[in-house]
Symmetry: C2
Subunit: 423 residues, 2 copies
């Protein structure tokens, strides 16, 4: 143990920081260059990694080069490559250079913005960016800080996948009889990209005084395009709405936007006021303390990431990104439609196409086998859903790197595998 | 709108990725070099940022240089500099080169590891690193995968700050009468760094069949040093334990470890099984699906970050980091003790010193004024707590860059400001 006055261990020395970070940048750039060489879905067996790594932490430091070699030899072979242009499963998780830059700035400053005073820029940029994003989606001003509402960034949606979470969040309100029930309308469901009729649901919600939340996690990004905005019609009847820029908005994980008409309800339920965090700015009520908009105390400066994405690309390119994905999905849908062995199961709205081989009585699990044949080839990765009892293949187009020729190659792969199965 | 086949917008082109990322690395390295020039706590007024930025998102893309200039001119002046060596408030949020590298790899791969199949390496490395970390803390094997338990990484502690959260998590169990109540013991409380007597609480918990959770968010990192490990004595009586590497373990935000003796209880409460995520690996029950260990579905590859930190620094340097902070805190405590105008209010256990100017009847808010004088100087940032009605000044030593001379300068600043107040 050395003396504290002769500190020899300098884990944030700017020169080392710069050199080692640039080595990792080169490593990641190489990964992107080689991305198409890897099987999209890896073929490792459960437990593969523990056979490759030591059972305990090392006592002595290891050189960066050794660690990166292990990333190459042990980690990358066990990844499912979400950034591969041949990844068509689930919904994508868009990475981008700007998203990565914003994430670096967030991680570099490494501030904890639980309340305004703990880093005013973190809180203020978050409010500004949520207003920018809300305006891009043409949300009514009742959801914006510049109006009478407000927005917040979270790591993941609370709402759509676990409505019971919201129930927890508003349990105090429930007790006081203000919000008796919760109704979640989805714009772009995960299985099929379906859109609930918001305006109709909104009327029911108003009649029965239900809290109406719109989950636009996936398709919300698309609604920045005027020709798609109608899918949010009726949003003025909702109490809250969320969308995830980390899905289809070129923003690296994680980043979810939530807007709420009456932030006071959230704050009343979630506010904490320990003495250690008391300060004059909070007392003045002139500032937002985002700790009161979430369950956890700590929070990252995620707004930087979304801000850099929006500025670096601009609304023009962001719309181009959405539109080119939709154009590719349209073309894929047309190709499927032209092949009489296949059928489109659900009308496409965004960039997700749900289709299947037409069923044959003697081959019940034909489509399941087709998915396995596609995925085990390593050349593409699709997923499935079951819609009203029908097994469908999902082709979600939208990774950052996907181009037309990848989609064409996917369709050729599907046709080849189908041919083998049907022979 | 361009045709999808002539894609001209390439937001993940490896060359641009590499060039722009390196420019941001240089920017962050410069920030670290200049960190001591900024006032630790900034002096902006509420609303300052909206006066500097446009009200809406730009339509056209902006050059990176313009964005970085705005970060310099608009964002940095509004930051509270958590990485400043003169930051002694709250608990620190340790950034480090290795933590940053791990964060870059996580963000670069940008995989979503909700279940094993969605990226096997993400799940397996998380289990391995949690076992490494558990062994560094000498947790009983009942908390490890190599034993009968297991661990998981979260973005923030669930447990300590919102016990009602755990109640929510285990509400199904409560209904079935399995877990009637919850007891949280803290190792290193936020206000004073106090340590609850785990062994004694454990006996009570066993007698009344309470769920005993140990919150070692801050001090858990310290317990990797054999001379501090005794603060976790009795952990074998607990049901779960958590600690936050993003506080004092050189791991950039966010990263929290949670170990649990019976992961099955967590899985039974939180498991989701939508058709779209069904796969053979999950069906086989041979794998961990971490989505069932948390409320949200999406999750980042945080394990990479903790793994790179542990390997790049090794247990030896990590212990050195903890010990040098404690040595600095000891010295600061001694300096305070030598000045008869001051008193230590709580015996120091880790690297947090709670002290105050001895009270005078005629000056009730003397210590509050002293905190304001220190912080408004911009040369250091401390915070306060109220312990049994006594207002104390907290000096939490442990940012990555803090060295002995920063602590000595803090003490001189405190003495000077006290002198002015007492004149």
């Amino acid at each position: 143990m050395g003396s504290a006055s002769r500190k020899t261990f300098l884990p944030l020395d700017p020169m080392t920081f710069s050199n080692e970070s640039k080595a990792v940048i080169d490593f990641i750039a190489d990964y992107y260059k080689n991305l198409e060489k890897y099987p999209v879905q890896c073929t490792v067996e459960p437990g593969y990694l523990s056979a490759m790594l030591p059972e305990s932490a090392p006592y002595c430091p290891e050189p960066l080069q050794d660690i990166l070699e292990d990333v190459s030899n042990c980690i990358i072979p066990g990844l499912t490559h979400w950034q591969s242009p041949n990844f068509f499963a689930y919904f994508h998780a868009n990475a981008s250079t700007a998203g990565f830059l914003g994430e670096m700035l967030c991680s570099g400053f490494n501030v904890v913005g639980f309340n305004w005073i703990s880093s005013p820029a973190a809180t203020e940029l978050e409010s500004i960016v949520l207003d920018w994003m809300g305006k891009m989606l043409k949300l009514p001003s009742s959801f914006l800080f510049s109006g009478t509402g407000g927005g917040v960034l979270h790591g993941s949606t609370w709402f759509s996948l676990s409505p019971e979470n919201l129930r927890f969040v508003i349990e105090d309100d429930i007790k006081s009889g203000l919000v008796p029930l919760f109704l979640c309308a989805t714009t772009g469901t995960t299985p099929s990209g379906a859109v609930d009729p918001i305006a109709e649901l909104g009327k029911v919600a108003m009649e029965f005084k239900l809290w109406l939340h719109i989950d636009a996690a996936y398709a919300g990004s698309g609604c920045i395009c005027p020709e798609l905005r109608h899918y949010l019609d009726g949003v003025e009847l909702a109490n809250s709405i969320s969308m995830n820029p980390h899905k289809w908005f070129l923003t690296n994980m994680d980043c979810c936007c939530l807007w709420i008409k009456e932030p006071k309800l959230l704050v009343d339920s979630l506010s904490t006021d320990p003495e250690i965090l008391r300060n004059n700015a909070s007392k003045s009520k002139a500032v937002v303390d985002y700790k009161d908009w979430q369950i956890a105390l700590s929070r990252r400066f995620r707004a930087l990431k979304l801000w850099v994405v929006i500025r670096r690309y601009g609304l023009a390119n962001l719309m181009y990104h959405i539109r080119s994905d939709i154009a590719m999905a349209k073309r894929f849908e047309a190709l499927v439609g032209e092949d009489e062995r296949f059928e489109i199961v659900v009308a496409r709205k965004f960039a997700l196409v749900c289709f299947r081989l037409k069923p044959k009585v003697e081959e019940e699990d034909l489509n399941c086998k087709l998915v396995e044949a596609i995925n085990s080839s390593g050349r593409a990765f699709v997923s499935h859903a079951v819609l009203s009892g029908i097994y469908v293949i999902r082709c979600a187009i939208g990774t950052t790197l996907t181009q037309q020729h990848h989609v064409d190659a996917l369709w050729k792969l599907i046709q080849d595998k189908a041919q083998s199965l049907l022979m």
